[in-house]
């Protein structure tokens, strides 16, 4: 039992090491990849633009729930006007980065992992190697960078729509005063709140994209292997995002 536990620990440490080395390789290739802007733009479109609908819809609903719950709670203390600042801080610092990252892993991460896994299974990556094209440079790095760029943008959009959703419920339906909703928000949201959100979205972007391309690139080239890689992408991303979220939040206190 203890031995199994130890073996499991060693295995996860090993895969952490392998992933870090893979990240190092991606970073080394990044300057070269940045010269080929259109490859990256294409991937920002695939991971970012195509995730817009799910991000915007989720942002709206999360904001609306926040408006409803926040209103109920704040009303008990007679401070409904604080709804603006409460929902904005909650969204910018916490909810937007985390929920966006989880949705990103489910929508874009799985697409990346299965696409790359299938490219391996159908010899497309080997074919590139035979054409003297490094698949890590040509396929992996642009997809990784596309995800890293798309995530903060998606998080920002999530926040904006979320705040609109909170406003929709709080002000339009529940009748919180519009002036105090916005002015309280303006007075209480500080630069460091925004900074925390930006740092989180950046870190989550790197983590989710890295996990997706790593799992895809190292998947077993069979139908089962690609399926497994896709599943692992979502599971690992979710755990890693929530863990990193705690770390970063603690750092910013």
């Amino acid at each position: 039992m203890l031995r199994n536990l130890l073996a499991g620990l060693t295995r996860s440490l090993e895969s952490l090491g392998a992933t870090s080395r893979f990240l190092g390789r991606l970073i080394i290739y990044t300057p070269g990849a940045l010269l080929r802007v259109n490859l990256i733009v294409e991937q920002v479109y695939n991971t970012g633009t195509l995730s817009l609908v799910i991000i915007m819809l989720s942002g709206l609903f999360v904001g609306m729930v926040l408006g409803l719950q926040g209103f109920q709670l704040l009303q008990r203390f007679g401070s409904e006007e604080a709804l603006g600042s409460a929902s904005a801080i909650g969204l910018v610092r916490e909810l937007s980065p985390v929920i966006t990252a989880l949705l990103f892993a489910g929508r874009a991460g799985t697409a990346l992992a299965s696409e790359i896994g299938l490219m391996r299974a159908t010899d497309q990556l080997s074919a590139m190697e035979m054409m003297a094209v490094d698949p890590v440079k040509r396929v992996i790095v642009p997809r990784f960078l596309g995800g890293v760029i798309a995530m903060p943008l998606l998080v920002a959009i999530f926040s904006v729509i979320g705040i609109y959703g909170a406003q929709l419920v709080g002000v339009q339906i529940m009748g919180v005063d519009s002036g105090s909703f916005w002015s309280q928000m303006q007075a209480s949201v500080e630069l460091r709140d925004i900074r925390e959100g930006i740092v989180k979205s950046g870190v989550f972007g790197v983590a989710c994209s890295l996990i997706a391309v790593y799992e895809g690139y190292h998947s077993t080239p069979t139908a089962e292997g690609v399926g497994l890689a896709t599943t692992r992408t979502v599971v690992t991303s979710a755990v890693v995002v929530l863990f990193l979220d705690y770390l970063i939040t603690a750092m910013f206190l």
Partner: protein
């Protein structure tokens, strides 16, 4: 065959996978400018041999020299430079599924050269014309039949004007017409472009019409070599079994198994 005429020289090659010896002292010389076939029963490591020749995997012992370069001594970038002089046709074509037929063929040009668009267009269209698929330039790989996909892959393999063209099982799963087309293309491209072709296959009929030289592998060694005609009358049991397509012989029909009746009569759960 003198030394200088060989473009690929493999000597005393040992290669082991997962404790199982695939090649054990393999010696092969592939002459310049000819179509050489590597044949053998399934599982003799024909595809592995291609991976070794192209440097996708490393040999345990022995040397592989391709176009004068020792693969074992080459760095990663050196290997990439060498690979630009090779073209390879994968078993399933391995076209990039997110690019059109035209873009697939243009892919190596776009990656390795800075040619103007007009020239790229001309090169791609000539290569597609050579495989008879200029009309399919706008299609996506998913819209092609298996044989057409392989021809597009062939156009892509020759677009950089390689010196060596490698075919991995080019006849598998093709209808007789497509098969005939591929056979003709292998011969024609080899002679027209001055290539050296290496064809890995187990289709005796097709290989006999196209190959200049055949190596027959079995059990990690070359068991016979010569022209297809010579092989047909080769005085060896295994060569006769393979060339004649006999079910049983030195290569047994049965996978190694315990005694048949013993296993049938054994009680449940007992091996």
């Amino acid at each position: 065959m003198n030394q200088s005429a060989a473009i690929v020289e493999i000597s005393k090659l040992d290669y082991t996978v997962g404790g199982r010896s695939v090649f054990d002292g393999l010696d092969i010389e592939i002459p310049l400018g000819r179509v050489t076939a590597i044949m053998g029963p399934s599982g003799t490591g024909k595809t592995t041999l291609l991976r070794l020749i192209t440097g996708q995997v490393q040999a345990d012992r022995g040397s592989i020299r391709v176009a004068g370069e020792d693969l074992g001594a080459l760095s990663r970038s050196g290997l990439y430079v060498l690979r630009r002089r090779m073209g390879m046709l994968f078993q399933n074509g391995a076209l990039l599924t997110d690019l059109s037929v035209f873009e697939n063929v243009a892919f190596p040009l776009r990656e390795h050269t800075n040619l103007p668009e007009r020239l790229i267009r001309q090169l791609v269209l000539t290569k597609l014309q050579a495989v008879g698929l200029r009309g399919a330039a706008g299609l996506m790989p998913a819209e092609l039949s298996g044989g057409m996909g392989r021809r597009v892959a062939l156009a892509r393999a020759i677009v950089m004007d390689p010196e060596i063209l490698i075919y991995d099982e080019p006849f598998v799963g093709l209808d007789p017409i497509s098969m005939g087309v591929i056979v003709r293309l292998i011969r024609r491209l080899n002679d027209a472009l001055g290539l050296t072709s290496i064809v890995v296959s187990h289709d005796v009929q097709e290989i006999s019409t196209v190959a200049d030289l055949v190596y027959l592998l079995s059990g990690g060694k070359v068991v016979a070599q010569g022209t297809p005609q010579q092989l047909k009358s080769y005085p060896s049991e295994i060569v006769r079994q393979f060339m004649g397509g006999l079910a049983d012989g030195p290569v047994p029909f049965h996978f190694p198994a315990p005694d048949y009746f013993g296993e049938l009569l054994a009680r449940d759960g007992e091996p």
